[in-house]
């Protein structure tokens, strides 16, 4: 049975149930809209159609509905909302609520991801846990074209009941299946295999909430469950030579539960205290899939991980307005993530043995104080300080591949000035300074690789951060609104070791504007400039240091107009363009790069989207809606396609084996024309 027909039949009982409930209702007086139509894309859209269920050219059904039935006497709402019902990414929600008393809802939502690339491959067994890589490899381009896709089907149910005045019960449950295939690797050889995905996520929550007078509290239970049908993928060459079999482990079933209690109390009309307390436990104790494979595990090694993660969160906060002009917010937070998985020896013999598992634990202490003081003429000044102390467990030497730190502290200072409550100019400017440092590094001290000691890892390196942000809204006249935004963040990384990130920079300048041309026409436009830059030092060879400057520059804009052409015809048009450029500059100190080392070329991406829509009423409650969209995607991304310097030749996996190539059209143009009839109840 095809996937399409399977989903059709799965949806049929749901549709029948909904019709049984809503059929009679639709016959009564209702509010809402029903939209039916069709549209067509002129060309395939591998890049822009990744998530919208319309990757391929051709026709699509357009079907949306939104029905609400309200009963004033009983306070009852009955709703049915469907979106994209003619597409693969359909979603539908039904809910019934007796407001302030009891309610229930059911929501189905499908999320599809179509991989934008085409994989030309000779791989056998795609979608299964046994895959064979061709050996000898295929001649690149002579395999089968494979398009990879993952699909999530999510069903969410919610229940609400008011138990007494100010006393509510809420429960929710989500069941989500994820199926499909993701591009992967053989793990140890540059050969293409796919990760078969067939898993389920379940999340449930139940909470009691109490709110009366000055006291509010909520407490309950939150649980999660991950289940997978695949735990191991066995890959071999088609020669089936035993030494060529690689076993790829997959994430195993895990589950968790959490108990929580949160609350707030207004001590006075201007002083409020709140707290949070939660404790959770996640476990993973599945049989390790490689434990039974001869040669991959010692009989002396454990067969299960006995994994256990305990997380404790405690927080108290106090908010007060001691004077008319002063507001204070103080928070103290403690979070402990304790990986209680026992450390055991999993690789007893073989290369590099012994090998132990590597649990990591963290404890965070956060103290935060913010104060706002209101000045005359609607100005306010804001000051704040935040201290974040993080303690970590350091893995034992031998399982440590990079320098590590047990303690890391960061202090952040904030200062801001804002103006509000004006009809013409409102805005704010803020400055933030953060300083992060820690204790001495614990070094890998690997005698076979002493250079492992020689880096400051980005997430624990000493760092100072200077950040500015300003936002101004200006409305000089009623018809015109302008907004200016600016942000600038600069990081400086330091440390006792030679390599790693040195500097980081992020900037954004944006201007937005809208103008009311007349009572029926409105124009808007925006422009954004973004810059992200990182300077890093890496080791090029035993005695050579390389400096990299990675820079991404984005220029984006949007222009739009909407209005009424004549009494009935409403139109809108919009143009947006997003351009990104990535540059990767690499230099060696005091020398030029060897001729054999060709630096990473720039990558340029450009997405242009032009939209036009028109609504024309053809009867009292019905209108025809025309939508036209033109998209253009252009890239010279060489990640899979060796543009410069090798020319437009796809890179191919392996040498003697495999031969898989990955391609995508660097220029994609497509136009959509859709017409729908919208009936309003």
């Amino acid at each position: 049975m095809s996937e399409k027909s399977r989903h059709f039949f799965r949806m049929t009982p749901l549709a029948a149930a909904l019709l049984a409930v809503y059929g009679p209702v639709l016959a009564q007086s209702t509010e809402g809209s029903l939209s039916v139509g069709a549209g067509t894309w002129s060309n395939d859209r591998p890049q822009t159609g990744v998530y919208d269920g319309m990757r391929d050219s051709g026709g699509y059904g357009l079907f949306d509905l939104d029905v609400v039935k309200r009963d004033e006497a009983t306070g009852t709402w009955l709703g049915l909302k469907g979106r994209n019902l003619g597409l693969d990414i359909r979603e539908i929600k039904a809910d019934w609520l007796r407001q302030g008393n009891i309610g229930v809802s059911l929501d189905y939502n499908r999320i599809v991801r179509d991989n934008p690339y085409v994989f030309n491959t000779g791989l056998v067994g795609i979608g299964t846990t046994t895959q064979l890589v061709p050996s000898p490899g295929i001649v690149p381009g002579t395999g089968s074209d494979v398009e990879l896709k993952t699909t999530r089907d999510r069903l969410t149910g919610k229940f609400y009941k008011n138990l007494a005045t100010g006393f509510d019960f809420n429960a929710s449950y989500r069941h989500e299946t994820k199926k499909g295939n993701r591009n992967w690797g053989r793990g140890g050889a540059p050969e293409f295999v796919v990760e078969p995905i067939d898993s389920t996520i379940e999340i449930g929550e139940a909470a009691l909430t109490f709110s009366r007078g000055a006291l509010q509290m909520t407490g309950g239970f939150y649980g999660t469950m991950y289940r997978t049908d695949n735990t191991l993928v066995t890959t071999s060459l088609t020669t089936l030579a035993p030494a060529t079999t690689y076993y790829l482990s997959l994430p195993l079933d895990n589950q968790s539960w959490e108990g929580f209690l949160n609350g707030g109390y207004n001590f006075t009309p201007t002083t409020r205290g709140t707290f949070k307390a939660s404790y959770s436990r996640a476990t993973q104790n599945e049989h390790l899939p490689t434990a039974d494979i001869p040669g991959l595990a010692s009989p002396l090694a454990p067969q299960n991980l006995n994994g256990r993660l305990d997380t404790t969160l405690l927080e108290a906060a106090l908010n007060s307005r001691p004077t008319r002009d002063l507001t204070i917010a103080a928070t103290a937070r403690y979070r402990e993530f304790d990986d209680k998985t026992p450390v055991q020896q999993y690789v007893v013999a073989g290369a590099g043995a012994p090998v132990y598992n590597t649990p990591f634990s963290y404890t965070n202490h956060i103290g935060k104080l913010d104060a706002t003081y209101r000045l005359p003429r609607s100005y306010s000044v804001l000051g704040g300080i935040e201290y974040n102390a993080q303690d970590r467990s350091v893995p034992s030497v031998g399982t440590l591949w990079v320098p590590f730190r047990e303690k890391l502290d960061e202090t952040t200072y904030r200062l801001g000035l804002s103006k509000s409550m004006s009809e013409t100019v409102n805005g704010s400017v803020r400055w933030e300074y953060a300083s992060r440092d820690g204790d001495d590094y614990t070094l890998p001290n690997n005698p076979a690789n002493p250079l492992q000691n020689n880096i400051n890892p980005l997430n624990i390196s000493d760092r100072t951060r200077n950040k500015w942000r300003a936002l101004v809204d200006w409305s000089p006249v009623d018809r015109l609104a302008l907004q200016f935004a600016f942000s600038d963040a600069r990081d400086d990384y330091e440390g006792p070791n030679s390599y790693g990130l040195q500097k980081g920079k992020a900037q954004n300048y944006t201007i937005d504007g809208s103008y009311q041309l007349s009572s029926s026409w409105q124009f808007h436009a925006w422009y954004s400039y973004d810059l992200n830059k990182a300077n890093e030092t890496t080791q090029q060879a035993a005695t050579v240091t390389k400096f990299n400057e990675l820079k991404e520059t984005d220029n984006s804009y949007g222009v739009g107009i909407k209005g009424t052409v004549f009494a009935k015809l409403k139109v809108g048009a919009n143009v947006e363009q997003f351009k990104t450029q990535n540059k990767y500059e690499q230099n060696i100190v005091g020398a030029t790069l060897p001729a054999t080392q060709v630096p990473t070329p720039d990558v340029n991406n450009r997405l242009t989207r032009i939209k036009f829509n028109a609504d024309y009423p053809v009867q009292k409650n019905g209108e025809v809606r025309l939508s036209v969209i033109h998209e253009k995607w252009k890239t010279d991304d060489w990640t899979w396609m060796m543009f410069p310097p090798g020319g437009p030749t796809p890179w191919a996996y392996g040498t003697a084996n495999d031969g898989t190539t990955v391609t995508s059209d660097p220029t994609q143009n497509s136009t959509f024309v859709g017409v729908r009839y919208v009936y309003k109840f």
């Binding site: 909430t209 994430p251 073989g350 890093e536 191919a652």
Partner: protein, 318 residues
Amino acid sequence: MQTSSRGRSLSRHFLLFSGATLILLVATAIAPRLASAQAGGPPGPEVCAACHKASYETYIDHRHGMKADARTPAARGGCVTCHGDGTAHVKAGGGRGVGGIINPASRTLEASRKNGICLTCHKGDPSRLHWLSSTHAVRDVSCTSCHKLHTAHDNVRDKLTQPDVCFACHKEQRVQINKPVRHPILEGKVACSDCHNVHGNNPKQMVRGSVVETCYQCHLEKRGPFVHNHQPVTEDCTICHQPHGTTIFSLLKSRPPFLCQDCHASSGHPVQFAGPPTGRTTSPSQLGTVGRGCLNCHTNIHGSNSTQDSQTTGRFRR
């Protein structure tokens, strides 16, 4: 063209006459209701409807307008619940702010005062218990900065339109969600509020207690625990990923091998030069840039459950 003084005088008289007629008509229309309001307390919604028809109609169609629910404004006095006693406002013939009428959407009203009106009823909602400690509250963002009440469609409560509301202030994210690698935000499948509770005070305004716990809502397989855990994965996904959108596959912040070389120095292929190979190769020293980069071989980078020897497991290859 110059206007004569006589013409200006006629225009002035016409305006005065028109204004007086309009006031008279309005007064005639609302007088009976005003009388009833004066007799029995603040004016009810029907009085307000005489001048604020559109707002009234959206109010009665809203959850706030449901009288059967004892908690709603409709069951507790109507418009006065949020807008204050409108007696003086009505008596004065209306006007913006006249008679002490309160408009929670007004730009000129202090944010804490506006928010106080909403929190009277909503501070007990579990997601809003900690509002006063949230970044938005500390920075004087008001409920009405994002929510529109007197409308049939509050954009911020619809996944498809919600991002546009957030982009009113968060400009970088407007660009990021249009980058080639992204979450399905444009399609309304993932909304800002799936990851961020803007009414709460968790770090980075996450809906769960930490970044990783938030990501596990959809990526639960990454939680493990694994036999071999990759340290940054257990700490914070955003060390390597930019969830709003990037130009690198898998939402990576930077392209391999540059990203990996921000933590890993080592002799041999881990510190390889970043450049595409000139042809097909199996050399690990030339494979860190093309395709999945370092992940061509270190394929289980989020964690591994293999018990094979250390050449494969601790290095996340299988």
